[in-house]
């Protein structure tokens, strides 16, 4: 991979280091507290690994502690800052397809009995309702949030709501097609 490219976890950690210098454990705490694993996949043990990769690319710099007992603190470099800006621009403007499991499920609908398929879709709808409630709870717990983060919740909630609407419509439509056995 080109050293200028960033994985999702590198991008996330770089942004947190850009806010203020932080050490590894502190980063883990921030990710936990802000529940950032809601937005992207980042392993529990991989923070130091990610920091190591960012350091190797020259995007963050580790400050050796003055005292032996204090932890290494990471701060962003100029190179890191411009990488962060570029990657943020790229993320906002480019569309990256995500494949929902619903798509292949729909393709293979005919392998199921009608009632089986309808029931599975109804279960998906129930899961979405649970997910919506869970996300709303997180939205409340996380207050106060800056505008940009608050709007992310609006985005995710909106996507779930539109999927729920689609399932409701689809259930109603497919129920009226007895020949789709």
């Amino acid at each position: 991979m080109n050293s200028k490219e960033l994985t999702d976890s590198e991008f996330l950690v770089l942004g947190l280091v850009a806010e203020m210098p932080r050490h590894g454990y502190e980063l883990e705490q921030v990710i936990e507290k802000r529940e950032m694993r809601e937005w992207t996949q980042i392993g529990f043990s991989s923070i130091y690994f990610v920091l190591g990769k960012l350091e190797k690319k020259g995007l963050v710099a580790a400050k050796q502690p003055d005292k032996l007992k204090t932890k290494k603190s990471y701060s962003i470099t100029d190179l890191g800052h411009s990488a962060l800006v570029n990657h943020t621009l790229l993320s906002l403007k480019s569309v990256r397809p995500t494949y929902s499991s619903i798509l292949l499920g729909m393709i293979h609908w005919p392998v199921l009995a009608r009632e089986q398929a309808l029931d599975a879709l109804a279960q998906r709808l129930a899961s979405i309702e649970v997910e919506l409630a869970r996300l709303k709870d997180i939205h409340f717990e996380q207050q106060p949030l800056p505008d940009n983060v608050d709007l992310m919740f609006e985005f995710s909630l909106g996507q779930l709501k539109s999927e729920a609407e689609w399932i409701e419509k689809t259930l109603a439509y497919m129920s009226t097609k007895p020949w789709l056995s």
């Binding site: 806010e19 203020m20 210098p21 921030v30 507290k33 409340f140 207050q143 106060p144 800056p146 505008d147």
Partner: protein
């Protein structure tokens, strides 16, 4: 003060210069407020702050709809005082009293909206703090300044205010010492944190 006047004066009230102390004539403002005592670095204070932000969370959609794109997230404000001024001056925070508060615009916050938001918040956080209320505060003539940097340096600036600026200008403090936190310290580096320091004053 109505919404229009509030927005027209917002910069003057919430963005004073950090170069020098300046004098401002504060209008009467409406706040949601919760009182408490003891070191603000305690559970009761964080709970009060969580309550205020939760109320704002439930009020926001209604308020946003009414004022549209001009809507600005109101910051957390806090007044501090002590029964014995010595405890205040010496920083004996265990003896301090505090009032955590968030400004609301009176005409946008009819009482039933406030009560409705209290109910919604209670569902999540339990019973409301006893002192939670809407309060009109008229600070009148104030001296204020923007502090930028680590919160621990605020005390030094206060020293300048009380020991130099006020006596030199024949002013004395008349109301509660007031801080307005413009950043979330969890997201903004210590060197960039902004706090408005405000002190109501009158002539000596």
């Amino acid at each position: 003060m109505n919404t229009e006047e509030f927005y027209a004066r917002m910069k003057e009230m919430y963005q004073p210069t950090n170069k020098h102390f300046s004098v401002i004539e504060m209008p009467e403002m409406t706040y949601m407020a919760i009182d408490g005592e003891g070191d603000p670095d305690c559970e009761a204070f964080s709970h009060a702050v969580k309550w205020l932000y939760s109320l704002v969370f439930f009020m926001r959609p209604v308020v946003k709809k009414k004022i549209g794109k001009n809507f600005a997230e109101p910051p957390l404000e806090c007044m501090f005082w002590a029964d014995d001024i010595e405890d205040f001056v010496s920083g004996n925070k265990a003896k301090w009293r505090w009032r955590a508060m968030i400004v609301i615009i009176p005409e946008l916050s009819p009482n039933d909206l406030f009560l409705e938001c209290i109910d919604k918040t209670s569902e999540k956080l339990g019973a409301a703090p006893e002192s939670l209320r809407i309060e009109q505060i008229d600070e009148g003539k104030c001296v204020q300044i923007m502090h930028i940097g680590e919160y621990s340096n605020i005390q030094k600036l206060c020293g300048k205010l009380y020991n130099e600026y006020l006596p030199e200008n024949n002013l004395k403090p008349t109301g509660f010492y007031h801080e307005i936190y413009l950043n979330d310290p969890n997201r903004v580096s210590p060197k960039n944190r902004k706090v408005v320091i405000r002190q109501p004053v009158s002539a000596c």
